[in-house]
């Protein structure tokens, strides 16, 4: 404590309060400037732009709700919305159930499971773009390793142009998402499992419960708070999915993997340069994504509130 110089031995209480306030504002000022300039203003900008017709370089023209009315009549928008729901629902279920099972399995204690956890987590630190490009090569119809392996083990009939076929493209992308995120969600569950008291299992064993009963009556209920967190992260991630799909299929073939994120980006900046960009329309799609993400967040806040009541 010697290093702290006693500068103001006679400072009054009022002065001390004022000083605290001053430092409070001083400490948050730089953050708030960044926040205002790069988040708040663009955010309201997005809402404003969604009510205009604007190519980005000319003068924006106010058109009210016209973009939203057009969206309502836009076939591709509905396809994108449906695909977004499908992607979100499927990834949420798969990326909750499978990591949970893997975590429970690993938690049983196996030689070398530390190594396993390390390996499983590596895809988590790799970017969406690299993941997408890598799997694009794996799925390649002619030279991809997936079709090669299938041919080699005599399943030639199963070979597919995975990302080019409308019926397999979306499942193929969902599998990639699962591959990448498995280690992440697994470790969240694993952390939860470690916090369950061992006595619960011991007394259940004494009462003659088998492994399956222990899973259903102890593990899953005890993990429920963590499970809800995983579900919400999945929902928010699903609603705003973009990179994985943009890189692998650009929303194709024939909009089979079009989601709101890709439709927004392509509308705003063009996929291949065809047609003039329409910022207003794209911003309107953004408002829809925002609304969906808000629903997810409201659920999250509800759950967090419940949790804070529990603990």
């Amino acid at each position: 404590m010697a290093m702290i110089e006693a500068k103001h031995p006679g400072t009054s209480l009022l002065n001390f309060r004022t000083r605290q306030k001053l430092y409070g504002y001083l400490f948050i000022l730089p953050t708030y400037i960044f926040f205002l300039v790069f988040i708040a203003i663009p955010f309201f900008g997005a809402l404003g732009i969604s009510m205009t017709e604007w190519a980005g370089y000319d003068q924006p023209r106010f058109t009210g709700a016209k973009n939203f009315i057009n969206l309502y009549h836009d076939r591709i928008f509905w396809i994108a919305l449906r695909n977004t729901f499908f992607y979100t629902a499927t990834t949420t279920v798969l990326q909750t159930v499978i990591p949970l099972l893997v975590a429970v399995f690993i938690h049983a204690g196996w030689r070398g499971s530390v190594f396993f956890r390390t390996v499983l987590f590596i895809p988590v630190v790799i970017s969406f773009v690299v993941t997408a490009l890598l799997w694009q090569m794996i799925y390649d119809p002619n030279f991809g390793v997936l079709n090669s392996v299938l041919t080699a083990i005599g399943l030639e009939a199963w070979t597919q142009p995975w990302l080019a076929d409308a019926s397999t493209a979306m499942p193929a992308i969902i599998f990639v998402s699962l591959w990448q995120s498995l280690g992440f969600y697994m470790l969240i569950f694993f952390a939860g499992l470690q916090s369950i008291p061992a006595e619960l299992y011991e007394s259940a064993s004494m009462d003659g419960a088998n492994t399956w009963q222990k899973l259903i009556y102890i593990t899953i209920p005890m993990l429920w708070p963590i499970t809800t967190v995983v579900i919400v992260i999945n929902i928010i991630g699903g609603v705003k999915v973009f990179e994985l799909i943009y890189v692998m299929t650009t929303g194709g073939p024939n909009h089979a993997t079009e989601v709101l994120g890709t439709y927004l980006y392509i509308t705003a900046f063009g996929a291949t340069g065809g047609g003039s960009p329409s910022m207003g329309y794209a911003a309107a799609i953004g408002v829809v994504i925002l609304a969906l993400a808000m629903v997810g967040t409201i659920i999250q806040f509800r759950i967090m509130k419940e949790r804070s009541n529990v603990y």
């Binding site: 400072t11 001390f16 960044f34 790069f38 390996v119 987590f121 895809p123 970017s127």
Partner: protein, 303 residues
């Protein structure tokens, strides 16, 4: 593949057998137990292979000769570093790597400093409007990136910061701060207020309390923010691809994406490019595993 991994679980088995040998009556349960262990290890190995195979295949492809790529065999006949040489000299991947290092370094530095200051203020200083100001900041966490990309792009253009690494860094700082402030505030809240009171009684200045007492204690929280921000910035694609147009300015993610357009048939080069681009983050992860896992899962649970 399975012949390679057989030895470890054989030893595990024989170890179990040694223990089992004595109580003969329980041999049926024992057999069941062994079968269960065997099945378990089989599942474990399958999952490990499934997780790592794409990456192993990527590295193997990068070491192939260009003409030998499409031969359909898993293992290359001979290994060559030709693809790496190509990607380093023709594609000049180190330039993009350098851009990524620059952008990531300054973004992380700024976010850590600003988020530490603001997080401390929100956790321990008393000032009017604190709660509401914090809630507004927190509220923006739910705004997805794609929503902001249009107005942010137009705004950077108005500032003359489009196609500039500085513009990208500023946008990244703005985008990363809310969550990092949230993490730092949670961490500072776990530190006892008594330390601050003691500092005040001793007559330390407010900045002195922050700098000399609280900051040294906040290292684990700072580590979490650092890892989160490092990973997020290093891997970011949409903003980098939209803001930077000049190829020489590109960071790794958009550069690697462009690689496909340029050398779509040169698979060893593609694979080498992907391998180089993930090396920095994978090495960091392997070296700082515990912090990575703790940081990312804690962030997820709190966020």
């Amino acid at each position: 593949m399975s012949t390679k991994v057989a030895p470890p679980h054989e030893t595990a088995l024989s170890g179990d057998y040694a223990k089992v040998a004595r109580p003969r009556r329980l041999s049926i349960y024992r057999a069941q137990y062994i079968a269960g262990r065997l099945l378990g290890y089989l599942i474990l190995i399958m999952l490990t292979v499934l997780s790592s195979f794409p990456l192993v295949w990527m590295i193997l492809t990068s070491l192939r000769d260009r003409r030998e790529v499409f031969s359909g065999i898993l293992l290359p006949k001979e290994l060559t570093l030709a693809a790496y040489k190509f990607i380093l000299t023709e594609f000049r991947i180190l330039d993009f790597l350098w851009n990524s290092i620059l952008v990531t370094f300054f973004t992380v530095l700024a976010v850590v400093i600003l988020a530490t200051l603001a997080g401390y203020a929100f956790a321990h200083l008393d000032f009017w409007g604190k709660e509401i100001i914090f809630l507004i900041l927190l509220g923006t966490l739910m705004v997805p990136g794609p929503v902001l990309i249009i107005p942010l792009f137009l705004q950077l253009r108005d500032f003359g910061l489009i196609d500039s690494r500085l513009g990208l860094i500023l946008a990244y700082i703005g985008g990363g701060l809310a969550f990092s402030v949230f993490l730092m505030r949670s961490y500072f809240k776990t530190l006892p207020t008594e330390l601050i009171d003691a500092g005040r009684v001793d007559g330390a200045s407010e900045f002195g309390i922050f700098w000399r007492i609280m900051l040294p204690l906040a290292r684990p929280g700072i580590a979490t923010v650092l890892i989160f921000q490092f990973m997020g910035t290093w891997n970011e694609f949409i903003f980098a691809a939209t803001v930077l147009h000049t190829p020489a300015l590109r960071t790794l993610q958009p550069a690697v994406f462009a690689l496909v357009g340029r050398y779509s048939t040169n698979w060893p080069a593609l694979a080498a490019g992907l391998t180089i681009s993930i090396l920095p983050i994978v090495i960091t992860y392997v070296l700082m595993q515990r912090q990575f896992v703790a940081g990312l899962t804690a962030g997820a649970i709190k966020g």
